[in-house]
């Protein structure tokens, strides 16, 4: 089997290299037959990588510990679900999994465009397959996944206990899907630059890929935060670790792109900016992979240090050089045909939204690499941790929240004073009232007051938008209000889906602001039967019990939660776990979640004298962070859900664009 895996990867290297060369040659010489052979080579690469992945998966499922990678990340007692997720638990497997997703997406993209966009496709194929080729080079020459051990051990080392969690089964695949999907729009952007087809064809063709990339990147970040919250046991969900930063940076620039591209579609401007955003977003996905795998920055999430850092740097530098050169070469053709009418317009609000999003990405990048700069310049190691990122990014985030409210209300092109008063008076009054109510409710943190005030502004404007649209539709079409509301969303999924996403982001802001500023935390050491009080909860330590299976030994504390009136409201069972392979202790937090707050308990230690230490947190409104995440996901699904009317409209626009271009 191992021979098959290695053979498949080596053959894939040849087919991928052929796909790049044939696509470039076929495209430049206008040889359709060679272009198609390049596409077939890409299909073949996808098939071969799938075989290699299947071999690795077979190794895990059959506990073939002769494969070094399987022996390092699995054991015979590991549950089947975790054997599958162990595939991406280490460096080699994660790269193989990444390559599998990438080549599958490339194959899907070629198949989708087999009868259209034929002018762009050779270069889309060449660009995306060059990325696949790069990962194949890493897998064959730097970190081969199918290395054999000189002997076959009885059992494996097992998967890191922190990764033995269901969030870890879905967090990395979501993140990889998000990262990898950005390669396809990047391929289209490069193809547009090479061919000079600089109209919005590449944007329309790659729109769904962009939305999918953004969707999965959002999911990946939300799942990762949830994993940190449930597994890492420090009462928080985001620590601004370099690897977390690597995942959020392309999300910021991708979000900026999704907004600015609307201006190109409407006004045929910002072409250079949109191309730059795609190039930056793709580069950040590669940079993130480099950060996680190069060992250049220490992180709890990073893989073992490897020698692949220089490979990533060369690859990244190569594509940045090509992209920027192409942009400069096409600069004259990219000049906008239209210009903005006024500073007070929705277009301007979008541009300032872009400024803040790119600013957030830059601030995060700056903080992430500053320790390296400091070491180069001063020879002094420093740490840039959560306090820095919170302090720098919070004002930018709050500014973004305000723009999220202004954007949908302000008029396109130019807002007159009358329109401004008409559109902004009530939202502003309601937002001010919300701020005052928040202050008198006892909130003294300026950032939290601003978040509540701006969130109210956004929600109010959004509700009014939905309501006005539904009333207008109900009057015109004669539908009931509910049917009109649904019809409104269905008729313009992208717009109203976007509003729902905004609502999700607002809820997340509220959860983040309150749980960050008003978190209550205390440590208690108590004897069995004793109670302790934190915030509005009283907890009674009832008992401790032990449990053990072949995989893990557990120490489980039993706590009863009482409310302010002394009524029992819940039972919590925080655990300490002792994994047998590798021998490693771990905590399993217990929490009671309500819309008002989370009571979050960690068992620190417990001894034979019936004394136990608990670290207890009360995180106000944190549930809204996760609810906001669900709303964001639903909104994205509404925006991308394909309808027959939408597809027909796309076909008409594409045909018109194609005809116009040919003329």
């Amino acid at each position: 089997m191992v021979f098959t895996g290695n053979f498949a990867l080596n053959l894939a290297l040849i087919t991928a290299a052929y796909a790049v060369l044939a696509s470039c040659y076929g495209g430049l010489r206008r040889r359709a037959d060679i272009v198609v052979s390049g596409e077939h080579a890409a299909y073949a690469t996808s098939g071969l990588v799938t075989i290699a992945l299947a071999v690795m998966l077979h190794g895990f499922l059959t506990s073939d510990f002769s494969i070094k990678y399987v022996a390092s990340y699995s054991s015979s007692t590991l549950p089947v679900g975790y054997k599958i997720s162990a595939l991406w638990g280490g460096m080699e497997g994660s790269l193989l999994f990444w390559l599998f997703i990438l080549t599958s997406f490339i194959a899907l993209c070629i198949w989708q465009n087999r009868n259209r966009n034929r002018q762009l496709m050779p270069y889309v194929n060449a660009t995306t397959m060059s990325v696949a080729l790069f990962f194949l080079i890493l897998l064959i020459f730097v970190t081969p996944p199918f290395k054999l051990l000189p002997f076959r051990p009885q059992g494996g080392t097992d998967l890191n206990p922190l990764l033995q969690n269901y969030w870890m089964q879905i967090h990395p695949p979501s993140l990889y899907l998000g990262y990898v999907s950005w390669t396809i729009p990047f391929g289209f952007a490069i193809a547009a630059l090479v061919t000079g087809r600089l109209d919005d064809l590449w944007i329309r063709t790659s729109r769904r890929w962009c939305l999918m990339a953004w969707f999965f990147l959002s999911l990946g970040n939300i799942f990762g935060s949830r994993w940190a919250y449930e597994v890492l046991g420090w009462g928080g969900y985001w620590a601004w670790d370099p690897v977390e930063n690597a995942a959020i940076m392309p999300w910021f620039t991708g979000t900026a792109y999704l907004h600015s591209v609307m201006i190109q579609e409407r006004k045929d401007m910002l072409k250079v900016w949109n191309l730059s955003l795609i190039i930056i977003t793709f580069s950040l996905t590669i940079f993130g992979t480099f950060l996680t795998r190069s060992g250049v920055i220490s992180s709890v999430h990073s893989f073992t240090e490897s020698g692949m850092g220089p490979f990533f740097m060369v690859f990244l530098a190569m594509w940045l050089l090509i992209s920027v050169s192409l942009l400069i070469y096409r600069l004259d053709e990219l000049r906008p045909r239209h210009q903005l009418d006024s500073m007070l317009s929705r277009e301007s609000a979008f541009l300032f939204n872009n400024l803040l999003l790119v600013g957030l990405a830059f601030a995060t990048l700056w903080g992430t690499i500053f320790p390296i700069l400091s070491e180069w310049v001063r020879g002094v190691k420093i740490t840039v941790g959560p306090p820095f990122f919170n302090q720098v990014n919070a004002p930018l985030g709050i500014g973004l929240l305000l723009l999220m409210g202004i954007g949908p209300v302000i008029a396109w092109r130019r807002a007159s004073t009358k329109q401004l008063i008409q559109n902004f008076m009530w939202p502003t009054i309601v937002a001010l009232l919300a701020g005052i109510v928040t202050f008198f409710a006892g909130v003294r943190s300026l950032s939290v007051v601003l978040v509540f005030s701006f969130s109210t502004f956004v929600i109010y404007t959004m509700v009014v938008e939905f309501h006005r649209g539904a009333v207008a539709r109900a009057t015109m079409v004669g539908e009931s209000y509910g049917v009109a509301l649904l019809g409104l969303v269905r008729k313009n999924q992208r717009r109203y889906g976007g509003y729902i996403v905004h609502l999700g982001v607002v809820l997340m802001f509220i959860g983040i602001a309150m749980s960050s500023v008003y978190q209550v935390e205390q440590q208690f050491t108590v004897k069995k039967g004793e109670s302790f009080t934190i915030d509005r909860y009283t907890l009674r330590y009832d008992s401790i019990k032990e449990a053990e299976d072949s995989h893990v030994a557990r120490l489980i504390a039993q706590l009863t939660v009482l409310d302010e009136d002394g009524n029992e409201i819940s039972h919590l069972s925080p655990e300490k776990r002792f994994y047998k392979k590798p021998e490693q202790p771990s905590t399993e937090v217990a929490y009671r979640s309500t819309l008002r707050d989370d009571l979050y308990v960690i068992l620190g230690s417990a001894d034979k004298n019936d004394t136990a230490t608990f670290q207890v947190y009360v995180n106000p409104l944190i549930a809204w962070l996760w609810i906001g995440g669900i709303v964001l996901v639903l909104g994205t699904l509404v925006a991308v859900y394909p309808t027959s009317a939408g597809r027909a409209r796309e076909r008409v626009v594409e045909a018109a664009a194609e005809k116009r271009y040919k003329v």
Binding site: L232, W234, G235, G236, A239, D241, M262, E265, R266, S298, S299, V300, Q339, L340, D341, S342, M343, S348, L351, F352, L355, L356, V358, G359, F362, A363, W366, G367, F370, L373, S374, V377, R378, V380, K381, I382, T383, V384, G385, P386, P387, F388, Q391, V392, P395, L396, A411, W412, R413, N492, R494, R495, E521, K576, P585, T587, I602, G604, S605, T613
Partner: protein, 161 residues
């Protein structure tokens, strides 16, 4: 005149943003603020306040030391300085805003201020060109009257995608 006013606004905005750089703390730091100011050295990558290792050899004694030091009357800044001297700057969870480190704090804001100014100037230049304002060549009379313009705006709004 407009340019001067705009420049003054821009300078005021820059100044406001740059004041976000942390100034020396004038009030007493709490236990959790001092804990948040130190990075745990056990390899968890978290601050001393957030280290989740229940038997951590660094964060647990440091938390106890911070509590005792604050009770003794030592200020938060003094505690942080003491740890920085003992372990080097890397023990502090954010760069001290001095010397080269000022770049860490100013860099993001400066880039946003410069980007914002550039953006504002560009939009204003475009808008002036459209309005036929100072410095721009005379333009032909507007194609649409106010009524048509309002209609166009309303149609654009309804087409909103």
């Amino acid at each position: 005149m407009k340019t001067i006013r705009f420049t003054l606004h821009a300078v005021a905005l820059s100044a406001a943003l740059l004041t976000a750089v942390p100034a020396p703390v004038a009030f007493a730091m709490t236990q959790s603020e001092v804990e948040e100011g130190l990075t745990c050295q056990c390899g968890c990558g978290l601050t001393v306040r957030n280290c989740n290792h229940t038997q951590c050899g660094f964060s647990i004694p440091v938390r106890e030391d911070i509590a005792a030091s604050l009770t003794r009357g030592e200020s938060g800044e003094e505690i942080l300085a003491r740890y920085a001297e003992e372990y080097g700057e890397k023990v502090l969870s954010s760069p001290v805003p001095e010397g080269f480190n000022i770049l860490a704090w100013v860099g993001p804001y400066l880039s946003i201020v410069l980007g914002g100014l550039g953006l504002a100037f560009t939009i204003r230049r475009w808008a002036r060109k459209k309005d036929g304002g100072e410095g721009s060549p005379p333009t032909s009379p507007p194609v649409h009257d106010e009524k048509s313009r309002r209609r166009l705006d309303s149609e654009l709004e309804s087409m909103d995608v």
